[in-house]
Each structure stands twice: as structure tokens, then as C-alpha cells.
Amino acid sequence: MRNGTTLLLLAAIAVAGVAYLTLWEPSLAPAAPALTSVSDAPSAMVIFPVGEKPNYEGVGMKPVVFNHLVHKNRVENCESCHHTGETVACTTCHTVEGNVKGKFVTLNQAMHTLRILPQADRNTPQSCVSCHTKQLQKPKCAGCHSIVKPTRSEIYCNVCHSVTGLTKADIVDGIAGKLSDERKAELAANTLKARKNPVQLQPTDGPYKVMIDDIADKYKANMFAHRRHVNSLMGRIKDNALASAFHNQPTTLCSTCHHNRLLASASPKCGSCHSQRANPDPATPARPQLKAAYHLQCMGCHKGMNVARPLNISCVTCHKESEGQSVARAAEKLGEK
């Protein structure tokens, strides 16, 4: 056994490597206990639309169950949200009507506004939506989200504005600040338990490859690796809680590209709306022509995700030159010589 020692050594290194990669994992886990071992900060809570005007009927903006614990661990420090430095509830200052304490910034604005003036002398506040919107700039999100913006539909609102088992009396009491802590905790716990992220379509539900040949002319048709792209996109956001919560339809991810073609074979093809127009179409100036529609999707996503490859001016990386074109180019070269 001439190479026995070497082989043994290599095997030992391999085992050590595997052990390192697998066994160290749990030792990183203590981060998780930290999630629970916080001081006296609440874990999940219900935010009621507190206002000065009495609300006897229990109507108005739906309360929100806010998982404080999860958010707390994702921000730099408490001041990111508690912008005054005091760790008090938002509704202390920001009420539905707005008041002098909150500088007349209403609860709605405080939670949703995107236009926040940077403060020169103190902490610039954030709203729920402004912070969530900022998350879309992460490369793993920015691919699609440089092309599409979240639709502000009822489903979108309900991601936050839904409390399981809420009664009118709870709302009235909650707004008045009379709801017992036990009831609040119960509501929050029930809601979190009931929250279920929508199931997304899986990469295997789509085709393996797609031939894009609508405008094959100068270049040959492109064989688009559909499943590889979907796999890659889904893999990146698999564990992202924000994406899981807000991608609220099975086809949400698909709809970036298939924005009007919801996967049924009867729905329109791209070319139905995106004409290969040779004539000006002043009626719909904003609608890209077919070629541009493809390019804007592909390149927009690649650019958003900082995918360096392929170079967006190197046509032949994606499209093989057609025979006619290469012959013409060769002829041109000969002519030049």
C-alpha cells in the first residue's frame, strides 16, 4: 500500500471538511435563541388605529398584527423605527387624525408614506412601506422589482391588515386602549398561527426550455432555459420571509415576465400586444415593441440582479447569427479588403 498514508490523510481531511461544514452549522445557531431572549420587548402585537374621535361602531382601518420580534432583529437599532429615541408605541404620537404631538403626521402616513424628508438634525424616520420598499433593492429582489412594482391591491393590504378572530368589540376597546393584554396576546398569537404563506408554483411546473422565435431574422431563434431561470430566482428568495408573505399568488413570481399571460395556454402571446411594429403607433407610445419587450425583460432583470453576463451589447451570446447574416457580413469583410 504505497499510497496508503496519503490516501488516509486525504480521507481525514475530507472527513474534517465535511464535519466542519455540517457540524459548525448548529454552533452558529445560538443566534436563534437570541431572538427569544430579548428583554421585555413584546414579540407580536396588535396595532390599533388609535384616534381622538370615539369609534363606537368598530369600523375603520383594520388593525395590524405586527411581529415586533422578527422586525427588531432586522434593523440596526431601536431608533430605526422609534425615531424619537423613546421606545413607545407608534400610536402614542401618530393617531388616525394626527395631533400636535405627532406633528400632525397621521398614523396612515407614519406607516405607509414613501416621501420622507431627510432630517438634518435628527433621526430620519421610516415607515413600514418605505422600509419594505427599500428591501426590493437587494440584488435578489431587484431583478424583478426593477421591472414590476407591487400592486397595491386588497390582497396586498390584507397581508398586514388582517387579525384572526377580531370582533367589533375588540376594535372599539383596542382603539380606546381598554383591551386587555391577554386578549391582545391571544389575537396576535392566533393571527400568527393562522398566517399561511401562499404556495408558489414550482419550477417544474413550467417548461424546461422555451423557443423564442417570433422575430428570428437577423439572428436564429433563441432557446431560453426557462426552468433554470425560474429555479435560480426561486432559490434566492426561498427563505425570505418578506417575499414569502407578499408573493401572495401562486403565480406572483411568474407574472413579472408573464404580466398579462397567466400561464394558461389560451391567454395571449407576447406578440399579441407587443407588435413588431414597422409603423408608428402613437396610441400606445409607452408599450415597447416586441424585440424591446424581450430585451427590457431580460436585460432589466439581469441588470437589476447585477448579473454581469452576458454583455448586453454582445448579441451573439444569446442569439446565434443566422446564415444569411453571417454570409452578408463575410461578404462585407471581403468587400472591405
Binding site: P118, K149, P285
Partner: protein, 370 residues
């Protein structure tokens, strides 16, 4: 000249001046308002979409039958140097750096709403067409190149090497193709729709919508909406990251355009208006100067006349004095020395006067010579 003829002349003068100002009058209240042509076309150049592929240059070259350039259009190394339009390249794409990232911008004629070139041309070669294009008719071009001075975008180029028919050359908006219902060559060949063709009014809405939907992507400004009185070609620029961070402060909005080589200080009035004040003074001077100088002439003439009269009076008085004195002297001589001596004295004095007068006449003539 009878009264009728006079009125006719007056009338034609009125018409002439009205023609000169009809453009202003049409706009209402003496101010230019946009749009002059409501349904004119325009193009929106979205530099965030442009990938610098030079397909537009190739398309322009092809549809306008321009000579093939030395370097093929797929040679992107030309981007390393700043280029400008030439008589054989009516549009060029240049690369700019915005915070280290390359941004491409296509240059060509902006087809102003109220073009400086048309205002400056003294042979009426340039015309803003109802379809939005600014056209140039070389058949009456004198070749003075004042249009090139006037153009705030340095667009027109000139065939300096042509001795017999040197023309000013610029992008035509593919005016002939527009009339055939086709898109301009560059727009048709753009693979990214970085060039969007449409009615100018719609394009502004499109641009607004893009800015609104992507506040972190676009600078909040449509270059050409108002610049230099508004242009048919408009440009959207990406937002520089440092501004994107504090995007709501808006203090430095627009510096991106400067970095894309666009002048953001042209003002929102047509460049031609800058000369209207000076041109408006022309009738004033024509009317007022003759009065002023005619008056000065009359004053100097009158002063001369008065001076002349005064001089004559003095001369006359002096002459009378001399005659009287001589008379008295002769009478005295006659009294004291008798008439013979008086005659002799008389003769002597007359001789002396004559000589003197002759001499004086000489000086007088000489004096007049001045």
C-alpha cells in the same frame, strides 16, 4: 402724393409690421405658449434603457443613404472618445460616466418647439413643421452658419470641404418617412425602446409615469420639456446614487443631465426670444434718430444764422463809425486848411480804404474757406 396714396403706404407698412409680429400674436397676449402644434410628434430618449449598441446610428445611416463610416457600426471602441454629429453621421451615441457607471446618450437635433436656428436664419431655410420636425431647405441657404452659432445644442454641422454646394446638415427627424407613416430610422432600429416615438404630449405623460413608478431610477426631470422653450426630443436620465439616497431633498436634481453633456441652464424660453428686444428697438431707432439728428441739425443751423446776423450787424456799425469819423475829419480839415487840403485828404483816405478793403476781401475769402 394724394391722401389715398398716403393711406395705402401707411397700410402696407402696418401689414409689414403685423407680419413680423404675427407669430407672437398667434400665441396670444404676446407670449409664447406651448404647444404651437398640439399633435406634433416627439421622441423620448430614455438613457436608463440605452445600452450603447449603436444600432440607431446604423439605422440612421441606412435609411438616409449616408456613406458607410470607416469603422463598422458594431465597433464599440469608438465610444471611448467623445464624438459629435458630422455631415455624414446625423446622430451619434456617446458614453458618459455617472458615478462610475456608463450611461449612453444619443445626440441628434432636438427639434425645438421654437428653434433657435429658424429664428437666426436670415434666408428662412429652417422651418418647424406641424409634425414636430425642424426641416432645412438647402436650396436657399447662403451658408452664413449663424444657425450653428444660435443652436444651443451644437447640432448643425457644415460641409466645410464642399466648395460648390456646402450645406448645413442635421437630423431631419426622418421627415419623409414620417409622411409615409414610418418610424424614424433610429427609433425603428433601437432594440431596447430607449427611443420612444409618439405625440409629444403623450410622451411627457409617459415620461412622468416612468419617473413616478421608479423614483429611485430616474432623475425627476424631463430634459427638453421646457428647456430652450421645449424640444420634440426629450431625455430621461438615471438618478445618481448619491441623490437617490436623499431623493426627497431634490437639491441637486438635474446634475445628472450636466454629466450627460446636456446644458441645464438654457432657460425655458426659446433662444430666439433673447434677440427680440434688440430687434424690437429697430423701429424705435428708425423713427427717433432722424428726429434727434434733424433737430440737432436745425439747432446748429439756427445758431450759425444768428452768429452770421450778429457779425453782419457789427461789421455794418463799424463801417458807419469809420465813415462818420472820416466825414468829421474831412470837415475839420476843410475848416482849418481849406477845401484843397480837404480834397487831398479825402483822396488819400479813399485810397487807404480801398487797399485795406482789398486786403480784407482776401482775408474774408480765406476765412470763408474754412
Amino acid at each position: 402724393m394724394n391722401r389715398r396714396k398716403f393711406l395705402a403706404i401707411l397700410g402696407s407698412a402696418g401689414v409689414a409690421s403685423a407680419l413680423g409680429t404675427s407669430k407672437v400674436a398667434k400665441a396670444g397676449g404676446g407670449t409664447h405658449t406651448w404647444p404651437y402644434y398640439e399633435n406634433s410628434y416627439g421622441i423620448l430618449h430614455d438613457t436608463t434603457r440605452c445600452i450603447g449598441c449603436r444600432n440607431c446610428e446604423e439605422g440612421c445611416n441606412k435609411v438616409n443613404n449616408l456613406p458607410k463610416p470607416d469603422n463598422p457600426f458594431n465597433d464599440l471602441s469608438v465610444m471611448n472618445k467623445s464624438r459629435r454629429m458630422t455631415p455624414t453621421a446625423w446622430t451619434v451615441v456617446n458614453k458618459y460616466e455617472l458615478d462610475g457607471k456608463p450611461v449612453f446618450r444619443k445626440s441628434q437635433c432636438f427639434h425645438c418647439n421654437d428653434p433657435a436656428c429658424a429664428s437666426a436664419c436670415f434666408a428662412k431655410c429652417f422651418q418647424k413643421q406641424p409634425n414636430g420636425s425642424v426641416t432645412y431647405d438647402d436650396s436657399q441657404c447662403v451658408g452664413c452658419r449663424y444657425c450653428m452659432i444660435a443652436c444651443p445644442f451644437y447640432v448643425p454641422s457644415f460641409e466645410y470641404d464642399d466648395a460648390w454646394d456646402p450645406r448645413v446638415v442635421k437630423c431631419t427627424f426622418c421627415e419623409l418617412r414620417l409622411k409615409e407613416g414610418k418610424l424614424p430610422g433610429c427609433v425603428e432600429s433601437c432594440p431596447m425602446d430607449a427611443l420612444t416615438f409618439g405625440r409629444r404630449a403623450d410622451l411627457i405623460k409617459v415620461a412622468r409615469a416612468r419617473i413616478k413608478d421608479n423614483p429611485d431610477k430616474y432623475t425627476d426631470y424631463i430634459y427638453g420639456e421646457w428647456d430652450a422653450g421645449g424640444t420634440a426630443w426629450m431625455v430621461l436620465a438615471p438618478i445618481a446614487p448619491d441623490v437617490a439616497d436623499k431623493k426627497h431633498s431634490r437639491i441637486e436634481t438635474g446634475h445628472e443631465f450636466k454629466e450627460l453633456g446636456l446644458d441645464t441652464h438654457l432657460g425655458n424660453r426659446p433662444m430666439g426670444e433673447l434677440t427680440y428686444g434688440a430687434l424690437g428697438a429697430v423701429p424705435m431707432i428708425v423713427a427717433f434718430w432722424p428726429v434727434l439728428f434733424g433737430g440737432a441739425y436745425a439747432i446748429s443751423k439756427r445758431r450759425e444764422a444768428i452768429h452770421m446776423a450778429e457779425t453782419e450787424a457789427i461789421v455794418r456799425e463799424t463801417k458807419e463809425d469809420v465813415v462818420n469819423a472820416m466825414d468829421a475829419a474831412v470837415r475839420k480839415i476843410a475848416e482849418t486848411q481849406g477845401p484843397g487840403a480837404a480834397d487831398a485828404a479825402c483822396q488819400a483816405m479813399a485810397d487807404a480804404m480801398k487797399t485795406r478793403e482789398e486786403a480784407c476781401a482776401h482775408c474774408g475769402h480765406h476765412g470763408e474757406d474754412k
